[in-house]
Symmetry: C2
């Protein structure tokens, strides 16, 4: 189970079949696989390659149960009524929150990976938002619609090669913030 | 050039070699490739599968030049001084903006794809943020550090299969908001 890459489907098939999987077996996931997932995570685009992200691997059942109880409450009180009303996932209109980009940046990352698979160069950038009104006017956006990223795409002048990232241990905690992960 | 998948590298190699490519040739990118990139984009995780995203394919040189001029100004006035100062890409602290998640949700998406490639089930969810203080306390987060996503990962009970998305034409505009793309 630690190496599934031998018979791995292509990236387009993977992207087109990555649905949310909400029903999971209780079997623990081997650390080797969690490690590969984290390595994939830190290879992603991030602003100025500052790598300010941290990842918390939670195996402690007490922590899980505490978070799960709040999660179930949020599901009942917030998500169910919202989905029933057909209300938007806050991509337009209201003031941004931390999770505002959670329904668009995953799509941006899929597009960056697709470009790479097709040997096209691309960059995720948000810097134009410093002149939000001016650039959104140039793109013809209505006042209640906003942009989240620019992706200039073309044939690259440079070569593809490994991304530069610090070691995983700099970013990964176990169960609680600040506790180093011994097993990964 | 329209089908690069025959000799396509595996998804892990793709993720580990997807760097920002800022120097691009002036050669136009075929519509067939842009279409595959957009199809990859709309296969990504998004809240409640509401698919509120829209994608604007800009080929019009006038629109490009207008946006580029503001972009260059933002680069000089904002990005260069910030990188020089080693300042963070706004992942912690300050009030969230629309682009706040742009340095973490791409990593989340890479992890979802990695999980899928390893035959593990996973979900991107942010619903716990409705009880932000309580759940962040359970995870031991310091007051100036915040969470952006939960990814429950495990062996799936269900089967992998195609994601359900509306046709591209519902989401893609050409050059300016609202103008249908004729070529994709």
């Amino acid at each position: 189970m630690t190496d599934a890459s031998a018979n791995e489907p292509g990236i387009f098939e993977i992207m087109h079949t990555t649905r949310s999987m909400r029903r999971l077996k209780p079997d623990p996931v081997p650390n080797a696989l969690i490690r590969r997932i984290l390595e994939a995570g830190v290879s992603a685009a991030n602003g100025g390659n500052m790598q300010r992200w941290r990842f918390l691997v939670v195996r402690d059942p007490t922590v899980k149960q505490t978070v799960a109880a709040y999660y179930r409450r949020a599901w009942k009180e917030d998500a169910v009524p919202r989905y029933r009303a057909g209300a938007p996932a806050r991509l337009e209109g209201a003031a941004p929150t931390r999770s505002t980009g959670s329904s668009i940046y995953p799509a941006v990352q899929n597009m960056l990976l697709a470009a790479r698979a097709l040997r096209l160069g691309a960059t995720l950038t948000t810097l134009h938002l410093r002149f939000e009104k001016e650039t959104e006017a140039a793109l013809g956006l209505p006042p209640d619609v906003h942009s989240y990223a620019l992706l200039p795409i073309g044939y690259p002048m440079g070569r593809f090669g490994p991304v530069a990232r610090a070691p995983l241990a700099d970013f990964v905690y176990q169960d609680r913030w600040g506790e180093p992960s011994r097993d990964l």
